[in-house]
């Protein structure tokens, strides 16, 4: 079972992830309050979210449909009957003193996702409500609670322990991110907490029959930290085992500042959540009709989109794949390609635009580049208004200011010189000033052609139409 290339000092890491995804429903899982991020504290709160006496939960059908969609996208079993349970514990941001979740009869069971050719099994995905948010730094002496998040629907996706390295864990997490964003059931934004990840990590010798004792790492809120936290934990466990001690079954917190995991609570202090079926919600039947309805309306999945882009826009498999890795990029491309040349657009998105995003470590949505403006840029390249080189400057300007492409080109006089007469004059002047090079070229030094092109570009500040400049130079140099 062990794959040798994932061994660390002869130890086989075994990893499973629990991913919490906030669903994008209009209202909360059990109340009519709005489900929205970033509003003023305690403004999106219904009686139900406050846990007032005598109020009762009513299940949001929208969340059920989104759960089904995830099940369909991961080839999972959709429950015919699902049951909600109560998980009991005291915490100030948990108004009822229990969380409504699903333990034994979740909405989705036994799914599988393909992570670069490797199958990672999903044990289950279940619906549950989010807690509110405790804040300890607003007032000096008091902690306060914001209940806007209380009752927001979550889909908790629990993998089997099929993952063997931190790198693989990140790939799996990205795959889940891709699926939920394509299904449009969550924005998957880890920085805002709409996707959160806990990792179960253990290590074993490759020929051991049983998995080692695992630690659960909580509070990992970026792809990068998932990799770092798991790698730290693997090393920590190796150290523990190799010094003859035992790994304790415990919950650990990842501290991204110190890049380490710390013990939060050990097994003996683990909460006893006293789960039992929630009597306020009867077992919920999911009809075949509903599943079919969701299936018929299922959003396009990454593989389907990739195939379609290859067919309709004549893209190669690699380019289409890169564009479709992230739904917002693929959507951006499609918007751009409405008016602009698709292959050129793909080239620029994959190349220059992605480079800028990576360099600045932000997402397309967060940047100042929008599809309509970017499309104008590509169109200006296609119709020779600007050269590729100038286009890079224009893109930089758009990146900085978000200014309209046409205005940038016009305002800074960046239009390409495509007027034959104008360009001829410039070339004549250059040839007159560089007679020795002209002679050398004519006597067979072909490499000097590049020198003349460079001189033309220098004289025109890069605005000369390169094709035309080449043509004219060739004619004149004979």
């Amino acid at each position: 079972m062990a794959q040798n290339d994932t061994l660390v000092n002869g130890w086989q890491p075994v990893i499973g992830l629990e991913i919490h995804v906030q669903l994008q429903t209009n209202t909360k899982l059990f109340s009519p309050a709005k489900n929205q991020f970033g509003e003023e504290a305690n403004t999106l709160v219904d009686l139900i979210d406050m846990g007032l006496p005598g109020v009762l939960p009513v299940l949001n059908d929208g969340a059920v449909k989104q759960g089904i969609a995830f099940g369909l996208a991961t080839n999972a079993e959709i429950a015919k009957t699902m049951v909600f349970d109560r998980k009991n514990y005291f915490y100030p941001d948990l108004p009822k003193g229990y969380q409504i979740t699903q333990l034994h009869y979740p909405i989705v069971k036994n799914g599988v996702v393909d992570v670069e050719g490797k199958q990672v099994r999903i044990h289950q995905a279940h619906l549950e409500e989010d807690a509110g948010k405790s804040m300890h730094d607003v007032y000096d002496s008091e902690s306060v609670v914001d209940l806007n998040r209380s009752g927001v629907p979550l889909l908790e996706i629990v993998s089997e322990p099929d993952i063997r390295s931190a790198e693989e864990a990140v790939k799996y997490l990205k795959k889940i991110h891709q699926i939920i964003t394509y299904l449009d059931i969550s924005d998957g934004d880890m920085s805002q907490g709409s996707m959160r990840c806990d990792a179960n990590v253990s290590i074993m010798r490759p020929d051991d029959k049983e998995f080692g004792i695992r630690a659960e790492i909580k509070n990992i809120n970026s792809f990068r930290f998932v990799e770092k936290a798991i790698n730290f934990e693997i090393k920590r466990q190796i150290k523990v085992l190799e010094s003859g001690e035992k790994v304790e079954q415990e919950t650990r917190l990842y501290d991204s500042v110190k890049d380490e995991t710390r013990s939060m609570r050990t097994k003996e202090f683990a909460n006893d959540y006293r789960y039992f079926p929630c009597p306020d919600l009867v077992p919920h039947e999911i009809s075949e009709d509903l599943v079919k309805k969701v299936k018929d309306n299922l959003s396009e999945l990454p593989e389907e989109k990739q195939k379609r882009l290859m067919e309709t826009h004549n893209l190669n498999e690699y380019d289409a794949g890169v564009l479709c890795a992230d739904k917002s990029t693929a959507d951006f491309f499609e918007e751009v390609a409405k008016e602009a040349d698709a292959e050129l657009a793909a080239k620029w998105i994959i190349g220059d635009l992605n480079a800028l995003l990576n360099k600045n470590d932000i997402s397309l949505k967060e940047s100042k580049v929008n599809a309509v403006n970017f499309s104008k840029l590509i169109q200006n390249i296609s119709n020779n208004t600007i050269s590729g080189k100038i286009a890079k400057d224009v893109l930089d300007e758009v990146w900085q200011s978000g200014e309209d492409v046409a205005k940038i080109i016009e305002g800074q006089g960046m239009q390409q010189i495509s007027d034959e007469g104008e360009l001829e004059k410039i070339i004549d002047k250059i040839l007159a000033e560089n007679t020795s090079q002209v002679e050398a070229y004519k006597s067979g030094k072909d490499k000097l052609f590049g020198f003349f092109v460079g001189q033309v570009m220098k004289a025109t500040q890069g605005k000369a139409n390169p094709g035309l400049a080449n043509k004219l130079l060739k004619n004149k140099l004979g």
Partner: protein, 475 residues
């Protein structure tokens, strides 16, 4: 005056809603030593009554038009104190209205106050109330039963003709029996639980208390409604229970228990039961003996499931958001002190039992097993109702008992619920009506019906009350 006469007089404009309300408020004051009320809403009630009188045409044909009513203090009332008889909610004013009280308002009734009860509906004697015990109108040293003791006492003492209660393990039927009135626990899901403070969510059910089946049918007409805010509420076509009283359901096959004399029921209660059977026979009904050896396991199942659910339902009372809050240095101290101060002994005891039976390692032995027993009792009733139309039983083991009864058996009080609990476990409707007197104290008996057979229950009780006078007796 009973409900039907009162309503007729109002409809004929022989009495105004205001006069009726003044009368109820006056009686409530005169009988304040019963401690039947936690809150009075004098000003509100009089204003509403005047309003109803001013809009007489709008209210005259409503099922409860112009009738004063008392609500158990477990139903949340918008802008009006709702305590559940607990220190925890001593000053709690909900910003929302329960569906039951809203329905009663819509039906034209006038709330004069909220009635006393066992704390969070946990008790069978009304002695666990933070606001002190309710006294039985038939004898001031006696308990009225519980948990809807204030509602039962209020009707028995003629303060109002109707009141609302809730029944989780007998909390409507047992006080009705001990106070000599009629009370119905509907099928689980017939009446919405929205805004009714939860004790055991899978069994709690609100229902009417009144002198007779007629009034119960009118009040049930008002209370029952499909409510999308309660996911356990049944979507059904509504039935006019009052009209149903005049139907002829023919000769019924009524189930009675084999070996009932061995259940520890008092001689007086058994005697009354036997005479009621004769009346039922005279009405043309016949009896079928049922073997219900599982009956007593119902108590064990109930006293696992109900505390389990209550331990979770009462977690929200933590001092963080509303209700009682103790001074504390940190959050765990806040929880501990608030809950230790805010809850009475019985409530704390049940929370402890409930937490225990749900905890890891004990769940299978207690909670799961109790659910198994519950299913067994339910299927037993399913079997019974293949052969019989109704089951007839005494409501209680004995008549009203003395307050502060001492017992060496900590489960003594729980055993009082032997005969009422099975209907709650199965979710079946059951109705208690007065069926005799002994030592000048009332006795009650109950019918248990199949699911949603309230119409038959009310009809049968009504027909019985047409030929008996027990329900007309007043202290």
């Amino acid at each position: 005056m009973n409900f039907q006469e009162t309503r007729n007089n109002f409809r004929k404009k022989q009495v105004s809603a205001k006069e009726l309300t003044e009368e109820s408020l006056k009686k409530a004051k005169e009988k304040s030593e019963l401690n039947a009320f936690i809150s009075h809403f004098e000003e509100y009630a009089l204003e509403r009554a005047s309003n109803i009188d001013a809009n007489f045409d709008e209210f005259k044909d409503k099922p409860l038009g112009g009738i004063p009513i008392a609500h158990k203090d477990i139903f949340c009332t918008d802008g009006k104190k709702t305590t559940c008889a607990s220190k925890m909610l001593e000053n709690f004013i909900p910003p929302y209205e329960s569906t039951v009280t809203k329905n009663c308002n819509d039906a034209g009734s006038i709330m004069i106050g909220k009635t006393n009860m066992d704390e969070f509906a946990m008790g069978s004697s009304n002695e666990t109330s933070f606001f002190g015990p309710v006294k039985n109108p038939w004898g001031q040293s006696l308990v009225p039963g519980g948990s809807s003791g204030g509602s039962a006492a209020c009707v028995a003492a003629d303060i109002t003709t109707i009141s609302t209660g809730t029944d989780t393990g007998g909390s409507i039927r047992q006080p009705a029996a001990l106070c000599g009135i009629t009370g119905l626990k509907p099928t689980y899901g017939l009446v919405s639980r929205w805004g009714m403070i939860a004790f055991c969510s899978s069994m709690d059910q609100a229902g009417p208390l009144a002198r007779d089946a007629f009034a119960c049918s009118a009040l049930l007409n008002a209370m029952a409604s499909y409510d999308e805010k309660d996911s356990t509420c049944s979507k059904r076509e509504s039935i006019d229970y009052e009209k149903g009283l005049n139907k002829d359901f023919g000769k019924l096959k009524i189930g009675i228990l084999k070996g009932i004399e061995n259940l520890g029921i008092s001689e007086e209660v058994l005697n009354a039961y036997e005479s009621s059977k004769k009346i039922l026979e005279q009405l043309g009904h016949s009896f079928v003996e049922l073997d219900f050896t599982e009956l007593s396991s119902g108590i064990c199942s109930y006293y696992v499931i109900a505390p389990a659910e209550c331990s979770s339902n009462l977690s929200r009372f933590d001092g963080v958001k509303y209700g009682h809050r103790s001074e504390a240095k940190n959050i765990s101290e806040l929880y501990l002190k608030t809950r230790a101060e805010g809850f009475g002994d019985e409530v704390q005891k049940r929370i402890l039992i409930g937490s225990y039976v749900l905890s890891a390692g004990f769940y299978d032995a207690y909670y799961r097993k109790a659910q198994k027993v519950r299913r067994m009792i339910k299927s037993k009733f399913d079997e019974f109702f293949k052969d019989v139309d109704l089951v007839f039983l005494p409501t209680t083991l004995d008549q009203a008992f003395e307050m502060n009864r001492e017992s060496t058996d900590p489960n003594r009080m729980y055993k009082e619920d032997l005969l009422t609990i099975p209907a709650n476990l199965a979710g079946l409707p059951a109705m208690s009506l007065p069926n005799g007197f002994s030592k000048n104290l009332p006795i009650g008996a109950q019918f248990v019906g199949n699911y949603f057979s309230e119409e038959l229950l009310l009809n049968t009780a009504h027909k019985m009350q047409e030929v008996t006078d027990w329900h007309k007796m007043t202290p």
